[in-house]
Symmetry: C2
Subunit: 553 residues, 2 copies
């Protein structure tokens, strides 16, 4: 359904000037040429250059892409960690009018093959360390014409089964930095990211230049990023364009730090970077921030963070974590979004009128997803399609619409299920409180339906995680012969608590917060909780593994 | 000349969702409904409501406009001071797809008649106190169908020769707040502002919704405006949309304060508002900020301003003024723009790498116009069209281009002289220093050409104004029989210095900064320096009045 657009009186403004993402880097190269861009290499060493040099390399890369045969509209796959090369690829590929296709190294081979074939990518750029995720599927890639390995080795020294193949630094070295970027129609795709649902194949979101441009300036403003910041890109850039945070840095002229390769087990390298580069802005998820907090705590010297803001997404930030950062380092600022929303659509900022809340009330508030970003229309509706009251209690589905929101999946018959009247149906169960703060209670599919009542798995999880002995916890609804579903908690204890904390102790600890029927029927202590490719708890896997847990008894 | 736009691959983003200014108020009404909007009435009393109530009234106003006969594309003139009614009119007029035509009360009757006729305005809204600027020209307005007086009197009680005429509060009172704003094509004009050149008739700039939207979000970010701010609109809203600052407030959810009616002689009311409303962001020009500083100094109790930022435009902020605010109240932040640029295109922010400059060097830096706003292309070129070196010394003309820059004047054959290759030719003589800071040395037409060399009138003016006895000073180039032009300084002394400061004392005071041939040939002490409608020194008037000053000798 399309909305009628009224014509007014013609303006004299330069409305044909297209919103192109390359503008941010070009501006930074002109206005902030000396500002540093820092990137952690695989070997742990640090690469440094500045915006002027970055733009020179991006222009060389643009020439190299053209020589490689990349044409406007082509999809170019990228498999890389958070590096300056990924940064260069985003700008050069989109700058010449092609599309940067984000390849998530954590999805299955089958899904990765599907994504590349569905997007009909003609070229793939892969970090040398990520060749093992591309080589085994190369024979099944229907449209790929050639490969580039992101490495400083010579093309002839590459050891890979991919062909034809070239080396990134090799193709750059041969080019001049003389390139004039065209003006690309702003409705054209800047990047493509496939979102993995709980079932079925990943779905393609193709974000336009216009959407990404608007998102970037809106977000950098709402977070008050400025030229005095040092911005670290920690959210993977293959995941919803890393929230576009690495684009905010050249926009505002801030120093930019790329986290390189890391896992939840190697977050010490992130802490080291934050300290050595004097980071003031970071983005990530509790799964990463929690171990980092422990590591910051164990630093021999208390780090001198200044005006540090840690943007936190994915799941609700645990209270203990927020308080820990507050004491030690800086603010955790909760934000919310999804691949379909470019992604950020809410940010948790404190309204001045709420300054007088008690400390406890403020912490409760700070856990919420926050306030809508201006320009985005959000509503929470009940099953009849009516807005729920702003009482902070009534749950409905969150629907989102606006200039940087997706209106369809690319070439996907499932789109009809996810979009309605221009709104994206988030599938998130949300409330809005009287002050306008949105809280995601759960994914609808993660709510537990017990005896006709809903139980929030997130509330249970957060309560359990507040226990000092608990490192991670997740609660899943499992089929139950009597109640339809009943909650099961999986708990990973901190090392020095293993064997010392009992199920009953945890139940006693959380029971003041819940009705008796809302408590998990059982708690299982595990070594590891299964996670998805983007680090969220994988309830799909848990449901499968524990399928008969209650029914089999 | 139009630039080729390359088509890439289609995106899945909602690119048809138009950037409409009403979005800001609609969002504020939803997300920040309780946040106050404060407006100073003519009688000195204070009007208060909030964003929710403002939006209700704007919807009523939209209904009233439709009933009045306003159609999409119509131009609707507004003659008002900075009030909540002007605020409402901007949103309601543009919201229904019509154009808010800004009527500057300070231009001549002939020019005002020209503006209204040239824009073919069909409706005029005028504050009751501004009827004297409309009534005398009503017979000469060719297209105006009806008038609305901004007052809370009943229509039948209005005393005016205008007809047909209604009262603002009367037409609102009859309407319901049930109105659904259409989506307006974003390239349509949001507002029209005529810029008065030094010669000839005013020239029409019709700013699009898109341009204003982009300008507003970019500026609010660069100035780090947020929901914890209290933003005061002091720049007249009939002058380049008041820099769009009143639009930033609903965008970020900040409290908004309208300054009401004031002149350079009644700035005490602005100081009172700043103190009583706890303003954190203000915008204005040195002509207003200077007397305000004196008034802040004379307050019996030192005001508790917190994080106050005073955005200052028009002319270079005098050092003494900046230092005065720095000690007493807050930062003066110099910004630059013009009606043709929506308006702000540079902001003076301190790059972190310059933190180690000496105090004096920092003050020198802060006087400059600043760094380009990202997204805007600016260049300084010599007469051959080549970029001047970034040495802070070589002067060229500043050219500006970008998504919120004007590319032509509305229906005006003079456009060809002011635009080239998509750039607006600012007519400003500028330098760029090695750190990228732009400094406007002068208008080309204000540079003084003496014996084949250029003398900067601005540098002379600022040096003279640094003298403790000087309140205002302007330097103009006058025809000279031998040197082509020679500078003349007009000086207005502070009251307690009148008769005590001599010409020679001022010449001695400034001579260390200039070559001997650059010094003014004469200094005239005056009671008042002629000013333009927007408060700048009127060199046009001075040149006329003192035409024979050097040649007649």
């Amino acid at each position: 359904m399309s909305i009628e657009i009224i014509k007014g009186f013609p303006s004299t403004s330069d409305n044909d000037y297209q919103l192109n993402i390359i503008t941010f880097l070009k501006s930074a190269a002109n206005t902030y040429p000396d500002v540093e861009v820092v990137s952690k290499n695989i070997d742990g060493s640090i690469f440094r250059y500045n915006y002027y040099e970055a733009f020179q390399r991006v222009k060389k890369l643009a020439n190299a892409l053209v020589k490689l045969g990349v044409k406007p509209g082509d999809r170019v796959g990228i498999a890389d960690w958070n590096t300056h090369c990924f940064f260069e690829l985003y700008f050069a590929i989109s700058g010449i009018g092609a599309v940067a296709l984000e390849l998530n190294p954590r999805i299955s081979k089958i899904d990765r093959t599907y994504v590349i074939n569905h997007a009909e990518a003609k070229f793939i750029f892969a970090a040398e360390t990520l060749l093992p995720i591309i080589e085994p599927i190369a024979d099944d890639l229907n449209t790929v014409q050639s490969y580039v390995v992101i490495t400083d080795k010579k093309s002839r020294d590459l050891k890979t089964s991919l062909a034809p193949v070239k080396s990134y630094e090799d193709i750059l070295a041969q080019e001049s930095a003389d390139y004039k970027f065209p003006m690309v129609d702003e409705t054209s795709a800047f990047a493509a990211c496939y979102t993995s649902g709980t079932t079925g194949k990943p779905k393609g979101v193709f974000v336009s230049h216009r959407a990404m441009y608007l998102h970037t300036i809106m977000i950098s403003g709402m977070f008050k990023m400025g030229l005095d910041d040092v911005i670290m890109q920690t959210v993977p850039m293959f995941h919803a364009q890393g929230w576009g945070v690495f684009l905010c840095a050249p926009l505002v002229g801030a120093k930019l730090v790329f986290s390189g390769m890391y896992t939840a087990e190697t977050t010490q390298s992130l802490v080291d970077l934050m300290v050595s580069e004097k980071v003031t802005v970071n983005n990530g998820a509790p799964a990463i921030y929690m171990p980092m907090l422990e590591q910051i705590r164990s630093l021999s010297e208390k780090p001198a963070f200044s005006n540090l803001r840690m943007f936190s997404g994915a799941t609700e930030p645990p209270l203990a974590m927020m308080k820990g950062y507050d004491e030690l380092a800086g603010n955790i600022i909760h934000a919310y979004g999804a691949t379909e929303t470019t992604p950020l659509v809410t940010v948790n900022l404190l309204k001045p009128q709420l300054r007088d809340l008690s400390e406890d009330e403020k912490w409760e508030l700070r856990k919420k997803q926050g306030l809508p970003v201006t320009g985005v229309e959000m509503k929470v509706i009940n099953e009849a399609g009516a807005d729920v009251p702003h009482d902070g209690e009534t749950v409905g589905e969150l629907l989102i619409k606006g200039p940087w929101i997706t209106t369809t999946y690319y070439n996907d018959s499932r789109s009809a299920d996810s979009f309605t009247n221009g709104y994206w149906k988030s599938g998130d169960a949300a409330t809005i409180d009287k002050n306008g703060y949105i809280k995601i209670n759960d994914r609808f599919k993660d709510l537990i339906k017990s005896g006709g009542e809903w139980i929030s798995s997130i509330d249970l999880e957060n309560s359990i995680m507040a226990h000092e002995g608990v490192l991670e916890a997740t609660v899943t609804g499992l089929a139950h012969p009597k109640w339809e579903e009943r909650p099961l908690a999986l708990v990973k204890l901190r090392e020095n608590f293993i064997g010392k904390v009992t199920k009953q102790e945890i139940l006693d600890f959380i029971s003041p917060n819940f009705a008796k029927w809302q408590l998990p029927d059982d708690i299982v202590f595990v070594d590891d909780i299964p996670k998805t490719s983007v680090g969220k708890f994988s309830k799909k896997t848990i449901r499968k593994e524990y399928k008969d847990f209650y029914t089999g008894k």
